[in-house]
């Protein structure tokens, strides 16, 4: 995690310069398109495109490595889970049935279901690249400001800003509470106290965390109020940058892509693409 405490990695690429609200639009369109289909061909192309975009955004592989592995593990588990619980689900979607494996009590696993879980896994993976681009290239303040510009009330946008601002503070707070308790003899790690005591020690951290957060809410809202927050119906943003021509181009392309996707969906109208 970077020093901002968020995942934002400062850089100067096409995506870093792209306005936050446009990136949000792109993100939403991408997500909706993914939701619309269950078609391996489309996902493969989107994945390829996503990888190209990640390269353009210069997101270092080490930043995303862990999450990619986590997603792959998740997909494996999810697939096994589906195969065990609904081994014949694929046949319902395609109307054909090609048994592959006979597994006693569980039932028969069909090729159609295996094809389905592969497609589903690809669907989950397709959502990843755009998420990476969104979170690694968007400065939280810039994002709040552009949310405000597209019509989200500034108070809600600012709440988001505060959330980003205080994530690292709360992490530090948790660390400090933990440290100062440890320094005064509370055990949290294995070997420092019996298990039951350790669990009790961990739950004893919850109340101070809540009370200190409530206290923090008090102090921060006082400080903000004293500096005139909420005085006027509008506010300006220090991080604001005017929309550029490219922003409009990307927005137009996104809308176009969405339209094309809907057209395709209506034309194909298949629950699951299955070539065999």
């Amino acid at each position: 995690m970077s020093r901002m405490g968020t995942l934002y990695i400062p850089n100067d690429t096409f995506f870093h310069r792209l306005d936050g609200s446009i990136k949000l639009l792109l993100f939403l369109v991408w997500t909706i398109v993914t939701f619309l289909f269950l078609d391996m061909r489309i996902f493969v192309w989107m994945l390829v495109l996503g990888i190209i975009l990640i390269t353009i955004a210069k997101i270092p592989f080490r930043a995303i490595r862990l999450i990619v592995w986590m997603m792959i593990t998740f997909n494996l588990l999810n697939s096994v889970f589906i195969l065990l619980i609904t081994p014949a689900y694929g046949t319902e979607l395609t109307g054909s049935a090609t048994p592959v494996l006979q597994m006693g009590a569980i039932g028969t696993i069909y090729l159609e279901t295996i094809h389905f879980v592969l497609t589903l896994s690809l669907k989950y993976l397709t959502l990843l690249p755009i998420t990476f681009i969104f979170i690694y290239t968007t400065h939280p303040s810039l994002f709040a400001c552009s949310l405000n510009r597209i019509g989200v009330p500034y108070k809600i946008a600012y709440a988001l800003n505060i959330a980003f601002r205080y994530i690292p503070d709360i992490q530090t707070e948790i660390k400090h509470i933990l440290h100062s308790q440890q320094a005064r003899g509370m055990g949290f790690q294995t070997g420092e106290a019996p298990l039951l005591q350790r669990i009790r020690n961990v739950t004893s951290l919850v109340i101070p965390l809540i009370t200190s957060s409530l206290q923090r809410i008090e102090v921060v809202s006082n400080a903000m109020e004293l500096r005139g927050f909420g005085k006027h119906p509008r506010r300006t943003w220090y991080h604001a940058t005017p929309l550029q021509a490219v922003d409009f181009v990307v927005a137009a392309l996104s809308i176009l892509a969405l339209g094309a996707a809907i057209f395709l969906k209506v034309k194909l109208s298949l629950p699951l693409w299955y070539p065999f």
């Binding site: 999450i67 619980i85 990843l128 709440a159 959330a163 809410i217 927050f229």
Partner: protein, 186 residues
């Protein structure tokens, strides 16, 4: 009543922000009880913040907070579950609209707790079911499997509500009741 619920004063803004940050971080913490089902202690925060600040704040903390969890972890946004956290927060906050209920002034009666337990239970079931339904519609997950997950998640959340959330609300209330009439004891 309703205008005051929707009015965003500075303190509400900060509460939403800090509450979401807290929920966002603690949301990363989960203890597996069944495959793909976790006990998520952070749900207790929704109970506490809902009871303290009402359904609107509860909803936003759940929604934004879950969004943050998904963003921090980087595994992508799961809109169904984001919405589900919001709805859970909303239902936990309903008790706030009850007459005579105020954690800050130490005024919580038995019937309020019953209300909180029931509305919480209903809220959890609605929220988790909705998330499951969205998984089926949007992600095309098989319904049979999702039903199992919905049951698992509901049980997990109800456990957190009963074992952590309600006791915490009660604890805060008792605590606030004690802190009136402070005097120096020489």
């Amino acid at each position: 009543m309703f205008t005051s619920l929707f009015q965003l004063n500075t303190k509400t803004v900060v509460t939403i922000g800090i509450g979401s940050a807290l929920y966002g971080i603690l949301g990363l913490l989960g203890f597996p009880i069944a495959p793909n089902t976790f006990i998520k202690p952070a749900v207790a925060l929704l109970v506490i913040f809902g009871a303290l600040f009402g359904p609107v704040v509860g909803f936003l903390i759940g929604f934004i907070g879950h969004l943050l969890t998904d963003l921090i972890s980087g595994w992508g946004i799961w809109w169904g579950w984001v919405l589900s956290s919001g709805i859970t927060g909303l239902f936990m906050g309903l008790v706030f609209t009850n007459k005579g209920f105020s954690v800050n002034d130490g005024q919580v009666k038995g019937r309020h707790l019953v209300f909180l337990a029931i509305s919480g239970l209903i809220g959890i079931i609605i929220a988790v079911s909705l998330a499951g339904a969205l998984d089926v519609w949007l992600m095309s997950e098989p319904a049979d499997k999702v039903v199992l997950q919905v049951i698992g998640a509901s049980v997990a959340n109800v456990i957190v509500l009963g074992a952590l959330g309600i006791p915490a609300v009660l604890g805060l209330t008792k605590w606030n009741r004690r802190n009136t009439n402070l005097k120096l004891d020489v």
